[in-house]
């Protein structure tokens, strides 16, 4: 067996151990963040060296090393790097546990990487638990009442979702007698009679899988945990949850649904995702309007974005191909959403950490107190709204087009109306920052790692808009790599 194919994961695992060990000896804890970032960069390098190897598999087809898996490995690494950059100031709230914190971030990244790479139900479940358990701990890391409550809620609801997911997997296994996704597809093709409802066991399994994975991506009606958990968790972890964890959920959904159920069944699950998409974006956007806490507002915004992303799952046809640009749009949307949302959260970390408040009203006059931070946050908000000249605009354009292309004009109209609604609350934050009177004249100093992270995110937002070509090519390659 070629262990080099596992190198990115092995590297990350070692880095996590090194961080824990180094924590015992080092006084200067900032080095831990640097170690983590170096480990991630090396892992990225290893992933890149595997790019274009033609899609090999490991462990009897359980683990794939193709462009799809590699893309998500790079994606999660970049997200983790930005989160670590954003954490360097924040960790001072729990100075004694910095090593554990960084190690857990790395381990959950490892879990996500495996989530995207596995092509077999049981290992998908294991990877998902590795990710989730690290995240449960991270959410409760602040140990204040709010954070603890959030951690506990996430743990219990996560357990419910896992149970639902497992039950779904069991039913699918019961129908097909297989756990490998490709084998499931073959088996379903051989056995399926009529439409989905003629096979109630399989249908229920399918729906339970949607529910269990819908929890991970915070889609309505499986989103209830998100606002409370996002609000209570340490802000860098909130950012991580809203971007990386959601992306991992989508990676698994793409894997499972396109490979295992990519046959006649796709008419049924595409319809489920279309309806969930419409509900998620509408509910997320409408409730976001009345939020006063910026983290809660972004929680609802992330629910709404799960809705936009699911358009990519609704716009699929039986034979997945590159021309079938729902999934391609999803990948491209994920890219743009990741840089945008991470950027927004980094700016919020920088501001909220200093003013010690997450209330939108306390952001008043930030345009004068911290012009660059306010500008960066505004760019991110514009991109979240989906206006030019930002990545968010192109991402929406692409995915809305996918909807129209697949005859889902109604979904596109719902999405456009939602975009208009969302402009209201995103711009309210911008308005408060630029037009409100400052509460105090004190400036907001920010540390170098934060500024670096924010610059990378903002640069990404603009680069994706002005030079989308390479990113779209990558998205197409990634979708094309799926069997």
């Amino acid at each position: 067996m070629n262990y080099y194919l596992l190198a990115p994961e092995i590297c990350l695992l070692c880095t996590a151990f090194v961080v824990v060990l180094a924590d015992l000896f080092l006084q200067q804890k900032r080095i831990l963040a640097a170690v983590g970032i170096v480990g991630l960069v090396v892992s990225m390098g290893l992933s890149l060296s595997l790019w274009g190897n033609g899609g090999e598999t490991l462990f009897d087809g359980m683990l794939a090393v193709d462009e799809f898996a590699l893309f998500f490995k790079l994606f999660f690494s970049v997200a983790a790097i930005l989160v670590i950059l954003a954490s360097t100031d924040y960790v001072l709230r729990f100075p004694r546990f910095q090593g554990e914190y960084y190690a857990l971030v790395l381990l959950s990244t490892l879990g996500m990487m495996l989530m995207a790479a596995t092509r077999e139900l049981i290992s998908i479940y294991i990877a998902l638990e590795l990710t989730s358990i690290s995240l449960y701990v991270l959410v409760g890391f602040l140990k204040d009442p709010k954070s603890t409550e959030a951690g506990l809620k996430y743990l219990l609801l996560g357990a419910v979702a896992s149970a639902v997911l497992l039950y779904g997997m069991a039913l699918v296994f019961g129908f097909s007698g297989q756990t490998h996704l490709e084998a499931i597809a073959t088996s379903i093709e051989a056995q399926l009679v009529g439409r989905a409802w003629d096979n109630p066991g399989l249908l229920l399994g399918l729906i339970l899988l949607v529910a269990g994975l819908g929890f991970k991506i915070a889609a309505v009606p499986f989103q209830m945990w998100a606002p409370d958990v996002y609000e209570g968790a340490p802000t860098p972890i909130t950012a991580y949850l809203s971007v990386a964890s959601k992306a991992a959920g989508f990676a698994v959904i793409l894997n499972v649904f396109l490979i295992a159920f990519g046959t006649d069944l796709c008419f049924d699950w595409a319809m489920i995702f279309a309806v969930l998409s419409a509900i998620s974006m509408t509910l997320g956007n409408v409730v976001a309007i009345s939020q006063t806490n910026i983290k809660r507002m972004l929680a609802y915004s992330s629910i709404a974005h799960a809705g936009y992303l699911m358009i990519g799952l609704a716009a699929v046809t039986k034979a997945t191909s590159v021309a079938d640009f729902g999934p391609t749009g999803l990948i491209f949307f994920l890219l743009s959403y990741a840089v945008t949302n991470l950027g927004a959260f980094i700016a919020i970390i920088a501001i909220s950490d200093k003013i010690d408040s997450d209330l939108i009203d306390d952001y008043s006059g930030m345009g004068r107190r911290a012009p660059l931070l306010a500008l960066a946050l505004t760019v991110c908000l514009v991109s979240l709204t989906g206006l030019p000249p930002t990545a968010g605009f192109l991402a929406k354009l692409y995915i809305f087009n996918a909807a129209v292309h697949h005859g889902l004009t109604w979904l596109m109209i719902v999405a456009v109306i939602n975009t208009v609604i969302s402009a209201y609350y995103y711009f309210r934050v911008a308005k408060t920052m630029w037009l409100g009177a400052p509460i105090s004249e004190q400036g907001i100093p920010s540390s170098r790692p934060l500024r670096a992270g924010l610059s990378i995110a903002c640069l990404g937002i603009l680069v994706i808009f002005f030079m989308p070509g390479p990113f779209l090519n990558i998205a197409q390659t990634v979708v094309g790599a799926l069997p």
Binding site: A161, A211, P221, M224, W225, I272
Partner: protein, 632 residues
């Protein structure tokens, strides 16, 4: 003869002001803040250069036809490639001249007008961005590119209307402008995606061909055209989305001049003109454009009759004149409307700069506190008079020529609209000269100690330049050359300047306009007729006009009804707060009310959250079974 202009020049036209924006915001504002004048100079230089290049481009288009410009691939969506390209045809070349010339004059004027304002740098940064975005919009060769700049123009007007954001009225006006125009933008965006789903292309030239060839036709074409027109209605402040423009007066006056003359509102008319073949092949769409335009013309003019704020009168006059342009587009075609846009840009910019110059001295825009300024401000007075004569449509000033073309075409195509337009001519002449007499005639009513003086040269010179254009720009089409350049009509001779009166129509419109001026003269200059008495005689109309037909209130009501549906308890609150800009607040409050209901479900109860997951599964399964039993 010169060779064709290099295509890089066309790119430079809109990139220069954008570049100036970048330089001001990222170089001058952070590092050279002690020399604020630099930002104004950079802006002038950039826009001045753009103007020179525009002249070159126009010359090249006149002599050698439309420029062909290599495209750059921007993004590939499926089998569609969106390219970045520029479309430099006669229409774009004319618009380039309008935008750069008017903007340049306004930037020069602003050097003095904005002097000592703490936001001097920010002002010129936004102005550069505004001009650059508008130029980008004009040059766009596909709908996506056009839409990008379309939104940027909207964003800039938001920023500039709310320039003095510490005034609550300015912040509210900016928000209103942004949200009301977005209602129209929604239609535009849907139309773009609809056209794409039908044709698979965003390219404007291709869409033209498809419409002309009849591939795109029937109801589909009508709906697409109406969606596009919805965008234009929002941007050009046509009925029923006109409410934002009068409030937009809260921005600095040069900004109003730019919005009203060359950028924001002109974008709507330009959009219809740019996609004119789509409209031309759908009679229903054409009629809609004509009716909305004609109605808006008289509707807005009636409100202009009774306003006391100079800028508000001018705002309603803009809405009314844009209505003329839409009427021209819908009733006849591209050339008269664009010709009117061309003339209107100069005299309307001039009127606003005049109003700004007056307030520079008096510190107010309320005409009741002015009067007698003619003696103290001879230059402002003279230029304002020229602009008023021009907008009233007096021969041989520019407004006469373009208005006459629209009236003539309305006579032939839409007779009812013609009569409405004729009443509008009367109203326009009346309210403009009401402003003139109240401001410059009579005695000063603004207190004893005011030191009235003419504005500095930097402000007067642009006004003089614009007044020359307000006199002469109309002559460009006496021979029909302007229309011919835009692809319509034949070229005649110069004798048309007099022979136009061989037809009775020009006589009628001229007489109607003069009657309007006379009435204003008798009411506000000689006071032979008492304005109060007339106001009382027609008090229902007076109230109707001065309350702006209760449109702000109407929008409030509509949304209040929505709130009744969404959450009853919010209604009382809204009646209490009695929001002035009800449309905006009403929508927000309604949605907030809905949000609060949902928020109640978010109680933090863990069991409930867990239950929701299971309920979700049951509902999805249930709906499948439901479809199976009843629908499948």
């Amino acid at each position: 003869m010169l060779d064709q202009v290099p295509y890089q020049a066309a790119w430079a036209i809109f990139l220069l002001p954008l570049f100036s924006f970048v330089i001001i915001s990222f170089l001058l504002r952070p590092f050279f803040n002690h020399q604020p004048k630099l930002s104004g100079q950079v802006t002038m230089a950039a826009i001045g250069l753009s103007f020179l290049l525009s002249v070159w481009v126009l010359w090249s288009v006149i002599t050698q036809g439309a420029l062909s410009i290599p495209e750059v691939t921007w993004v590939v969506i499926g089998d569609t490639t969106i390219k970045l390209g520029l479309m430099v045809d006669p229409l774009a070349a004319v618009m380039l001249i309008i935008v750069t010339l008017v903007s340049l004059m306004i930037q020069i004027y602003s050097q003095a007008y904005m002097d000592k304002d703490p936001g001097y740098c920010r002002y010129f940064a936004f102005m550069s961005l505004f001009t650059g975005s508008m130029l980008g919009l004009v040059l766009a060769d596909n709908l996506v590119q056009l839409y990008v700049f379309w939104e940027l123009v909207g964003l800039c007007s938001y920023l500039l209307i709310g320039f003095w954001f510490y005034r609550p009225a300015a912040a509210a006006a900016a928000k209103k402008a942004f949200i009301v125009t977005r209602v129209g933008d929604f239609g535009f965006l849907v139309a773009i995606l609809f056209l794409y789903s039908r044709t698979g292309t965003f390219d404007i030239a291709t869409l033209h061909h498809l419409a002309v060839a009849g591939v795109l036709s029937g109801t589909a074409l009508t709906w697409a055209a109406i969606g596009i027109f919805a965008g234009a209605v929002g941007k050009s402040a046509q009925f029923p989305l006109h409410t934002w423009l009068p409030d937009a007066m809260e921005g600095p006056t040069p900004v109003s001049a730019l919005i009203h003359a060359a950028t924001m509102v002109a974008a709507g008319v330009f959009l219809v003109a740019r996609l004119f073949p789509l409209f031309a092949h759908s009679p229903q769409a054409m009629t809609t454009v004509a009716i909305i335009g004609g109605f808006t013309a008289i509707f807005a003019a009636s409100m202009g009759l009774v306003m006391n704020d100079v800028k508000r009168v001018l705002a309603y006059s803009t809405i009314s004149q844009l209505g003329y342009m839409m009427l021209g587009l819908g009733a006849f075609g591209l050339a008269p409307a664009i010709f009117h846009l061309f003339n209107h840009a100069f005299f309307k910019a001039l009127l606003f700069l005049g109003a700004g110059s007056v307030s520079h001295t008096t510190g107010t825009f309320d005409m009741r506190e002015m009067g007698g300024l003619g003696k103290a401000m001879p230059w402002t007075y003279a230029t304002f008079l020229i602009a008023s004569l021009s907008i009233a449509g007096i021969w041989p000033l520019s407004g006469f020529w373009s208005k006459d073309e629209i009236l003539t075409s309305a006579w032939g195509e839409q007779r009812i609209m013609f009569y409405l337009a004729m009443i509008t001519v009367f109203m326009t002449a009346f309210y403009m000269f009401r402003v003139l007499f109240l401001t410059f005639g009579g005695e000063y009513r603004g207190g004893q100690h005011a030191h009235l003086h003419e504005s500095p040269k930097v402000m007067v010179v642009p006004m003089v330049v614009l007044s020359i254009l307000a006199v002469g720009s109309g002559w460009l089409n006496i021979t029909g050359r302007f229309g011919h350049f835009l692809g319509e009509g034949a070229i005649g001779g110069w004798e048309h300047i007099f022979t136009i009166f061989a037809h009775p129509l020009p006589w009628i419109s001229l007489i109607v306009a003069i009657l309007g001026i006379l009435l204003a003269y008798m009411m506000y200059s000689t006071k032979r007729l008492s304005a109060q008495a007339i106001g009382q005689r027609f008090s229902p109309f007076y109230t109707l006009f001065s309350k702006k037909y209760w449109f702000d209130e109407l929008y409030e009501q509509i949304f209040v009804v929505r709130i009744l549906v969404d959450g009853l308890f919010r209604v009382l609150h809204l009646f209490d707060s009695r929001a002035v800009d009800g449309a905006v607040n009403g929508m927000a409050e309604g949605t907030i009310a809905a949000g609060s209901c949902i928020r109640k479900a978010q109680t933090g109860q863990l069991q409930l959250y867990g239950l929701a997951i299971i309920i979700g599964v049951i509902i999805i399964t249930g709906s499948f079974l439901g479809i199976h039993f009843w629908g499948g």
